[in-house]
Symmetry: C2
Amino acid sequence: VRTIDWVDGAIELVDQTLLPDECVMLRIADVDELIGAIRRLAVRGAPALGVAGAMGVALAAATTDDPAEAVTRLRGARPTAVNLAWGVDQAAALLPDREAVLKRALEIRDDDIAACRSMGEYGAALVRGLTGGAANVMTVCNSGGLAAVERGTALGVVQTLHEQGALGEALALETRPLLQGARLTAWELARMGAPHRLVVDAAGPFLLARGHADVVLIGADRIAADGDTANKIGSYALALGARRAGVPFVVVAPETTVDMATPTGADIEIEDRGGAEVVSVRGVRLAPEGTGALNPAFDVTPHDLITAIVTDRRVVRLDRGETLASVPLGPRRVNRPV
Amino acid sequence: VRTIDWVDGAIELVDQTLLPDECVMLRIADVDELIGAIRRLAVRGAPALGVAGAMGVALAAATTDDPAEAVTRLRGARPTAVNLAWGVDQAAALLPDREAVLKRALEIRDDDIAACRSMGEYGAALVRGLTGGAANVMTVCNSGGLAAVERGTALGVVQTLHEQGALGEALALETRPLLQGARLTAWELARMGAPHRLVVDAAGPFLLARGHADVVLIGADRIAADGDTANKIGSYALALGARRAGVPFVVVAPETTVDMATPTGADIEIEDRGGAEVVSVRGVRLAPEGTGALNPAFDVTPHDLITAIVTDRRVVRLDRGETLASVPLGPRRVNRPV
C-alpha cells in the first residue's frame, strides 16, 4: 500500500495520526482538507510532503478558477520541510495547465519511489563499509515508507540492510511529543520483520556510549548548502552522542531535500508546534493544568557532526572534507533482487 | 507538607505516582509495603530513598524478630541510588536496638532538611557567580522537595534562586518514561510560583544550543569517586549539549550521594526497569502490541563534562581541576531570611 497516491481525481493517504491502532485511508478532494491533514500530521515526512504539495496544486487547479491563494497557503502549511514548498513550486509553475500539473505531481510520486530505492542501495553500501558486518542501527522519528510513498529514506536503508541480511537490530527512539518512532517506525519495522526495540529519546546518547549501536541513521527535513541538517527534534542530541562515542552519524534524504538556497542551519526556520502536544499524549494529560511548554518540532545538526549525507544520487563524506558543492551527482541505483 | 515522615509508629509518604492529579499520603507500616512503594516509585529521589531506607529498618525492627532478611531485600530494591543502601546501612548497624534505629532514622530525616537548605545556598551562590544575573535554568527529572523531605537538591537551588529574585525561567525536561519532570517538577515549580516551561527531553540539547538556558542543574543518584555521576536518563545528553554550547553543567547532591567506594561511572550498576514503562504512558499504549523496549532508568555523565559538584558541605569545581578527594568539607550553610 502506498502512503500517498492519486486515485480517481483525489488524493488518498494513510491517516498517520491513527497508527498503530488503525490503518485508515483518507480521501482528500479539497486543498483546505489537505492543509488540515498536513498541519495535524495525518501526512508527514519530507518526501511525502513533496508529493502532497504537488498533488495539492493539482487539486487546487481542478477545483478553483484562481488557485494562487490556496497554493500559497498550502506552501506555508509547514515551514521547516523544504520538500513541501518544492513540490508545490514544481506543480504550480505549470498552472493554469491542469493536465500538466497533474502529470508533474504523478512524476514526483514515481520519482520518490525510485529515489528511495536508490537511497537504500547507496546507504546500505555505505553502512556495510563503515561497520563491516551486521549493523545495529539507531534512528529517530519515522523516515520509512510512511514518510515517503513506498519505501523510506533512513528507514529505507534499514530495510535494505535487513533484506541483505546485514541488519543486527534497529533501535527506534520513540520521538516525543508525537511518538512517530513508537507509533510508526516500530509498526514499519514489525511489518518488515526486522529485529527492533524501542527506547525513550533521552536514552539514545547513553546507549551509543554503551555500544548499543554501530551507526545512527536519520532522515532530513531540510539540508542547508553547508550540510547543516534540520530534522526531528532529538537528532542533534544523537549527533552529539554519536560523536562522543565515535559512532558514524549518517543523514539520508533525496536530492530534493538539499536546499542550496539556504546557506547554513542558522537560516532554517524551526517550527514551534505549541505546548499542547507536550503537556498531553494521545488525549492523556501529563502535566499540571496550565503548564506552558516550548515545542520546537525540529533541531539543526551542524555539518561537523555528520559523517555522511546519502542521497539518491551520491554519498557526500563530510568527515573526509567533501561538500554538497564538491561532489557531483551520480546515477540512481536500482535494487538488486533480494 | 513533608514528602516522607515518621508518624505514630509508621512511615507516611506522598504517593508520587498519583501526582499531579492527586496528592495522596500513604501510611506504610510494613517493610514489604515499603519495598513495593519504592519499586513502583511512589517514593523516589536519592535523598528521600535514604530516609525511606533508614525508616524501613525501623519498621522491620518493630514488626519482626529477625529483620535481617527484610533489610537485605529493602537495601536492593533499587540498585543505582546509593542513598537507599546508605540509609539502610546507617540504621541496620544499630540493630537490634529498636530505639537507636528509629532515632538514627529521624536524624537522617532532619539531616536531609538541613542539607537541602545548605545546598540551596552553596548552589545559588555558584550559579549567580557563573551567570552573573537572573539565570535561566534547565533541569531534568525531579530533584525537588518530592525527591527529599522538605526542599530539594538541584530544584532546591532553583527554589533558592527564585527566593533571591535571581531566577529567570526554569525549563523542565518532561523525563520519559515516567514523566517526573512533567508531573512532579512542573507541579513544584507552580507551587513555588517560579516561571517555568516544560520541554520534551529530546529538545534539551538543542535549546541549550539556541541560548535558552544559562546553566543546567541536575541531581544525582550516585557520584563515583572520580566525579562520574549517575542520574536520570537524559542527564548525559544534556551534559553533551551543555559542553557544546559552553553552558555550565552543575550536579547538586548531598555528601551522602558521594560514593568513594565506587571508583568510576563504569562501576555503577544501571537499573533497567523493563519495557512496559516505555510502550505505554499513564495506561495508554504508545507502540504496536508486542513491541519490546530497552529502558535504562539512569545514565552516567563522565566527570569531564561536569562543571561543578555542589553538596551541602562544599563546591567542587571539576572544571578547575578540583576533585572530590582534594576539596575538604566545609560548614553547612543556613538559609538567610528571604
